[in-house]
Symmetry: D2
């Protein structure tokens, strides 16, 4: 199985009265996984965490496959699917063991201080598609 | 402006250190708005809240337009966009005043105890597309 | 019954798999209720919301009496119990209808930019103990 | 430093617009730490996780010392402070490195199906005060 970027046990507070992780928490898992993915690709000269503070969420699509439950160890694999001039699309595979739970694809755009899209630097583009 | 199904002020705990509502909370707003939408269409003989306990989330797409901030009064308009044999797609327009913040479309499927899709009853179909 | 400072229906995402509001959410309710309490006592010349941004939490004690459940309308009554030189203690009565759910007492201290306690202004002291 | 029962990095969604962990999340950390503490003391013949499902929260006191921030690795040490006939008090030391962040003391009572207090079994009492 591919290495996951982020992993954590499901918390009791994340499970609803139907006994499954409430839907919104999958976005939180992906947010943490994206930060971990960027930290793992940062170097002394390329701070991708600082980069992540300058991107804005455009859109996110979640597809639920099977519910995670309390105590399950959730793994999130992260992959950069597409890099455009100013935006990138990232896929997140949220799973428990080898069981897929939720697939998420999120598009981010790099913006300047006024919120206008700006080109992704070449060093960032290279890092995003590199193996860790 | 159309009537919103659900409304609430943004809570301090929902705002992140960038000063905007953290992305996952929009799914929580929509969840509450869908429950309110169903409660508003329930009658003495048609319990749509009980119906909602029998649907399962299939997929959800969020598009962020403009961030809501602490103290903003969030309104969510709900509209049933499509009703299939066993599933339905619902659109949620999350806004602050007349400013759109986030558009969400979610597909739900009605399932039996084993999780298998079952046909939507005619009374439910009629209620879902009715004006309130 | 006394007027509550803040009120909201329990959200589905706040209820755990035992069917009751997860314990930490009572602190979120009190946080919102304190902000509402201060906003209700602000005037053109006294901005208690700005004041609230300058206080720091010291301690909080929660006593759970009876669990709130999904859809319950939670009311929070707020009362300033004690005002010292630099700190204040506030009690929160979280209830559903006339049923007490959780009593919370929280002590806040007013601090300067370096985090050192500073005296509470007289105008703030007067407003905190006023009826609305 | 004593071994912590539970540890996790602070999540971005847990940090508020003042740049610190929002107060209610410390209760979530302690809830996870208590579950981990019990799991670590469970044996083939003593299921303390099942025990934890039968306790009810009575009261909890939090004292904040220093704020944790995004990315900090939070450790929670757990110690059973007092065991009475039907209840127990547990202290939680939430820290980042060797810096104390929040001290929490929580009292739980063991209850039967109708919510009436029942005596703590001797095997449970012994396990709660054992070193891991």
């Amino acid at each position: 199985m591919p290495e996951s970027a982020w992993s954590a046990p499901v918390r009791f507070a994340e499970v609803d009265q139907q006994g499954v992780v409430f839907n919104s928490h999958y976005l939180t898992y992906c947010d943490e996984a994206f930060a971990a993915f960027l930290a793992q690709r940062s170097t002394a000269v390329l701070d991708l965490v600082a980069f992540s503070a300058r991107v804005r969420l455009v859109t996110s699509t979640l597809t639920w496959i099977r519910a995670a439950t309390w105590g399950d160890l959730v793994d999130v694999e992260v992959r950069c699917e597409r890099i455009g001039a100013t935006s990138l699309s990232v896929s997140f595979a949220v799973r428990v063991g080898d069981q897929a739970c939720c697939d998420v694809t999120t598009t981010y755009v790099l913006v300047d201080e006024r919120g206008a899209p700006v080109p992704l630097p070449d060093a960032v583009r290279a890092a995003l598609v590199s193996a860790q």
